[in-house]
């Protein structure tokens, strides 16, 4: 990935992340998040991880965020949701934690700079075969556990929805 392309996509990613935070309108926020996820997919593509990039688009931008936007559209927020934030005090509590994360980021970056730059590890093939092999050997248990978790969530939602009816 050429540095110019990287800078351009990174700028879009940062701008869309800020847009997500600043915009009051939930639909605008969700669409900014879609743009941001798309930028991350472009980064994956730039690193040669084609499968990961496309999976990112299909799963996050194409499936999860579509559902988000759909849900926001169905439950069009009224005045109370878009009005002044009733939980401002809780937001203030987020400040020290955010500062902590930021300090951590700077420390990591600083440690990176001080350390002698190690030769980059041999490029792991980002192809479908490599990922598939890893998923079904080394990471079989987490992979299956995740699917069980998702299934449990789905069954739970169905149960809740049925009781209401």
């Amino acid at each position: 990935m050429s540095p110019i392309a990287f800078a351009l996509v990174a700028a879009i990613a940062i701008a869309s992340a800020i847009g997500l935070l600043v915009k009051k309108n939930p639909i605008h926020g969700a669409l900014f998040l879609v743009v941001n996820l798309g930028c991350v997919a472009v980064f994956y593509l730039g690193l040669g991880a084609e499968f990961l990039a496309v999976a990112q688009v299909i799963v996050y931008a194409g499936a999860i965020m579509v559902l988000f936007v759909f849900a926001i559209m169905v439950l069009i927020p009224g005045k109370e949701e878009t009005g002044p934030d009733p939980r401002v005090r809780w937001r203030v509590a987020a400040l020290p934690f955010g500062a902590l994360l930021f300090a951590q980021l700077i420390m990591i970056l600083g440690a990176r700079r001080g350390a002698p730059t190690a030769a980059p590890a041999a490029p792991v093939p980002g192809g479908v075969e490599a990922i598939g092999r890893l998923l079904f050997t080394d990471y079989l248990l987490p992979f299956e556990l995740t699917s069980v978790l998702l299934l449990a969530a789905m069954v739970g939602v169905l149960l809740l929805a049925r009781r209401r009816a």
Binding site: V34, F51, A55, A61, V66, F70
Partner: protein
């Protein structure tokens, strides 16, 4: 320099093909429906008395739409309202990028794959772009500040999501049979012969997958019999507040998706650019006869075969569009979730068993 020119040429061919054919489809649709319904059809537009079977109608339509007032409702969301048609058209055009329209050509020792973008996960890329098209519909419906448009967008989004899940599940069988996500590889492997004489096309190795994919594909284009998001004549759709060329772009997006579905069907199930028994040296028939042909002619024939197959698929899709009445919304949903999706999963299981029995597992 030459590399850049070749890359530009590959992209330009696909963009020109997709955009121009979508413009032409407006005419095809009218003329075909006229023939089917025993009418004369569009034949009024003329330039200096020249009518050319109504071929000037797409130009007239475009001029009319471009010169119409570009109306925007007072309470509409300005940015999203203008952005929505562009999003719809954009994903329709880029989705075609990794569909191969010809073989990998060898020229002066260079390997030139005849597709706009060479991706190892090409089939997933097309699928991803198709699934992003739904944002155009949702943005249009929501930003219009019109409850009917919003309802239309919700119907459209629900339909497209259910169709895309069925599309994704139904192409799994093809991926399993040909063992690749690269659309060029899939097209190349469809050139092999079964039992020495049957071309190993997707429609023969995956008959159930073909029917499921085609049904789900028609649904994802949001056209009759699945046009409940717009329902031109009686229901109000997501583009009710649009006028002029922005409205035209939504129509164009549907036609673009039709082309993409036709191209995808060709590439996955109808052998892509393969001509039966045609190899790089010429025809080699199973009964022993052979006919040598120059390499350039072979490539031309293969690109021509792809274009013809896509055209035939578009014709079939339009035939269906002018034959069937519209499904009710709940019928379409039931078809997607209780018909297409379970059958696609069944297809995956059956394909897996057959591939294992034939020793195709690697």
């Amino acid at each position: 320099m030459i590399d850049v020119a070749i890359a530009l040429g590959r992209v330009a061919f696909v963009v020109m093909f997709v955009v121009n054919v979508s413009g032409l489809l407006g005419w095809v649709e009218r003329k075909q429906s006229a023939i089917m319904q025993d009418r004369i059809g569009a034949n009024r537009a003329s330039i200096f008395g020249l009518r050319a079977m109504g071929l000037f109608h797409p130009i007239a339509d475009a001029l009319k739409m471009l010169s119409k007032e570009d109306f925007r409702p007072a309470r509409a969301d300005r940015l999203l309202f203008s952005l929505a048609p562009f999003v719809s058209v954009f994903f329709g055009i880029v989705a075609f990028a990794s569909i191969p329209f010809g073989p990998v050509v060898e020229l002066d020792g260079k390997q030139i794959p005849l597709q706009a973008v060479t991706l190892n996960v090409g089939i997933l890329y097309v699928f991803a772009m198709l699934s992003l098209g739904v944002y155009g519909v949702m943005m249009a419906g929501w930003s219009s500040a019109n409850n009917f448009a919003l309802l239309g967008a919700q119907r459209g989004a629900a339909l497209m999501i259910s169709a895309e899940i069925a599309i994704g599940a139904s192409i799994m069988g093809v991926i399993m049979v040909y063992g690749s996500l690269n659309m060029m590889d899939i097209a190349v492997r469809q050139g092999e012969l079964l039992l020495g004489w049957i071309p190993r096309w997707g429609i023969i190795t995956q008959p159930l997958g073909f029917i499921l994919f085609l049904t789900a594909g028609i649904a994802s284009t949001k056209r009759i019999p699945f046009d409940m998001p717009e329902g031109e004549s009686e229901i109000i759709g997501y583009h009710v507040e649009y006028s002029g060329m922005k409205f035209g772009m939504f129509l164009m997006a549907d036609l673009l998706e039709t082309i993409v579905i036709a191209g995808l069907t060709t590439a996955l199930f109808l052998g892509g650019w393969q001509v039966p028994y045609l190899t790089a040296e010429g025809f080699r028939f199973p009964w022993g006869a052979a006919l040598g042909l120059p390499y350039g002619l072979v490539v031309l024939m293969q690109v021509g075969a792809f274009v013809i197959k896509v055209s035939v698929m578009i014709f079939v899709l339009m035939l269906i569009r002018w034959t069937l009445p519209r499904f009710r919304y709940d019928q379409a949903m039931r078809l997607g979730w209780l018909g297409l999706f379970p059958l696609s999963v069944l297809n995956i299981v059956l394909t897996g068993i057959v591939v294992l029995l034939l020793g195709g597992a690697r």
